[in-house]
């Protein structure tokens, strides 16, 4: 099992996931993720020709819903529940992001 999870890989994933990790955590996750990857590689040694891929742990299919309207939430309560918002305008607010 040659493939390793480097600290750089973990840092990159943490950045994409907006996670701030300490040096100790970076090392720890690099090790743990390498173990997970090694296990996956081990599983991959099994010949799965002719076995349909498993996309979902449950052997079920997506139930379909009819296209009928359900009541939406009251806008004032919804906006009031957010950390920041303008209930009169019915809008949520977040720190400015550039378009």
């Amino acid at each position: 099992m040659s493939s390793r999870f480097s600290r750089d890989d973990v840092e990159n994933i943490a950045r994409l996931a907006r996670l701030a990790l300490t040096d100790v955590e970076l090392d720890g996750f690099a090790r743990q993720l390498a173990d997970v990857l090694a296990y996956a590689e081990h599983v991959q040694e099994v010949d799965t020709n002719g076995v349909p891929p498993t996309f979902h742990p449950l052997a079920t299919t997506a139930p379909l819903r009819g296209d009928s309207l359900q009541r939406s939430l009251p806008v004032r309560e919804v906006v009031a529940a957010a950390p920041d918002g303008d209930p009169d305008a019915g809008l949520f607010k977040v720190p400015r992001v550039l378009g």
């Binding site: 296209d67 939406s72 806008v75 977040v94």
Partner: protein
């Protein structure tokens, strides 16, 4: 992506263009919840725990959205798969409340199709890579509020509206071709009733992948993805600009950077949005909240059978069945409502070319004048009514100029053509004696022009005929007037 060697300055380049089209499906409710998809509602009045991404809320797939997406797959000649998979596309932006968009990645609903059509005498085929289902994001409002310098406002009414993404092969070779193809695609989506084609409201949007390569080369150049193209004109202009930008960079020996660029409508140019190489890591994985979407092959076939005739086929049929010129057929099949109106009118009139002329002429003028669509025009001037008017012209009951007057009186009044003609006394005068009397009256009133005609200055003929038409308020049958006027002028002077 093969890198292009710095080309000699005079080298010819070939653009390579592929489109990604997002189209909102015309369902009443969102893709994973029962909130309304209606456009223009007050902000955040169509939201619930699912489309707000509240913890613990679970998506339930809208069956109608699946049917519509499968229809698109069929209409674009794709294979619609019995099993497809939803995936999470992970990225952070405030208009995406869950931190991921539910989309399809590895197993899209439909793949491997193409749109074939005739263009300028040659057959073109634009390949379709895939059609997949996904949810729309909410809307960010960056400007217009007192604290807009520090706050972005969010409206989630659009969050969870069902979209299909259609991805073409890079088969398009010019900005004009890309614009024309987008327009064809829109006509198809509207004709099969899955999308309203409204680009202003954003229910149909297009991104373009543009690269250039040395003419005749096999590999592809480095591409830029242009976002924010919400009209045919923008598609055309943005791609044109981008091709020129890339060619001029390559001529200078500068490397093209793979990136996302934004079309700036006001400035008429594309600007760099973000570098693709670093930003595009969406870490897709199968959506654990949704089991695989299974469609019975019989159901897939049943959906295929509900497809109406597609615009291109209909255009061809109009040419063969109604003997219409190419131009008429193309114009009338621009929308299925207009094409339906034509077919109903042609049947009522039993004269297809006349129906086409009326629709492309007076009816279109009237619609433009009033700023209405064919739907409203159909109420104001039902196909049977217009057909009746055409029959009156064809039978010689009224002349063409009078028919225009009758048309005006019929439009919006609910009156039949025969009723207007009767009521207003507009029937064509083809009574021999009556027209002849009018001719002699005109000759008596205008001895000068009559004498000039007899002296060989025959150009006064038109004036004299005009006087007869005026005297009969346009009702005299023109061929009869011509005939009788000529006879009167050429008879010995003064004899009747």
């Amino acid at each position: 992506m093969t890198s292009l060697a710095p080309p000699p300055a005079a080298q010819a380049f070939e653009p390579v263009i592929g489109l990604e089209i997002h189209a909102q499906l015309l369902t009443a409710t969102k893709i994973f919840c029962g909130c309304s998809t209606q456009f223009g509602a007050p902000p955040n009045t169509h939201v619930c725990p699912v489309c707000l991404g509240l913890p613990g809320a679970l998506p339930v797939l809208n069956g109608e959205a699946v049917t519509f997406a499968a229809k698109v797959g069929h209409a674009l000649g794709c294979t619609v798969h019995p099993t497809s998979i939803f995936a999470r596309k992970n990225y952070f932006y405030p208009d995406l409340p869950k931190g991921y968009q539910i989309s399809q990645y590895e197993r899209p609903l439909a793949t491997d199709g193409g749109v074939t059509y005739e263009e300028g005498g040659t057959t073109r085929r634009i390949g379709i890579i895939r059609v997949h289902l996904e949810e729309d994001a909410g809307k960010s409002l960056h400007e217009g509020f007192p604290d807009s310098d520090t706050r972005t406002y969010l409206d989630f009414n659009r969050s969870g509206v069902p979209l299909i993404e259609i991805v073409t092969h890079p088969d398009l070779r010019s900005a004009a071709e890309a614009g024309a193809f987008f327009s064809r695609l829109r006509a198809i989506l509207v004709a099969i009733g899955v999308n309203d084609g409204n680009m202003e409201e954003g229910s149909l949007r297009c991104d373009a992948n543009v690269s250039v390569r040395a003419a005749g080369a096999q590999g592809f150049g480095v591409k830029a993805e242009i976002k924010n193209l919400n009209s045919f004109r923008h598609v055309h202009r943005a791609i044109e600009y981008e091709i020129e930008r890339q060619v001029s960079l390559l001529r200078k020996g500068t490397r093209i950077v793979a990136e996302t660029r934004l079309w700036d409508v006001g400035a008429g140019r594309t600007t760099s949005m973000r570098s693709k190489e670093e930003a595009h890591d969406y870490r897709y994985f199968p959506e654990p909240d949704l089991p695989p979407l299974e469609l019975d092959p019989a159901r897939i076939e049943e959906i295929r059978r509900t497809l109406p005739e597609l615009p291109d086929a209909r255009r061809q049929r109009f040419i063969s069945q109604y003997a219409l010129p190419e131009y008429d057929a193309a114009l009338l099949t621009q929308s299925s409502a207009l094409a339906d109106y034509f077919e109903a009118t042609a049947a009522a009139a039993t004269n297809a070319k006349a129906a086409s002329n009326w629709i492309m002429g007076d009816l279109t003028r009237k619609m433009n004048e009033l700023g209405v669509e064919i739907g409203q025009a159909r109420v104001a001037m039902p196909p049977d009514a217009l057909g009746g008017l055409i029959r009156l012209v064809d039978s010689g009951r009224i002349s063409s100029p009078i028919a225009k007057e009758v048309f005006e009186k019929m439009y919006g009044s609910g009156r039949a053509a025969a009723d207007v003609v009767e009521g207003e006394g507009l029937a064509q005068i083809d009574d021999h004696a009556a027209v002849e009397a009018a001719v002699w009256e005109v000759l008596a009133a205008h001895p000068g022009p009559a004498a000039q005609y007899r002296a060989g200055r025959t150009q006064t003929f038109g004036f004299l005929v005009g006087q007869v038409m005026k005297a009969t308020r346009g009702k005299a049958k023109p061929t009869l007037v011509n005939d009788l006027m000529r006879r009167a002028l050429e008879s010995p002077e003064g004899t009747r």
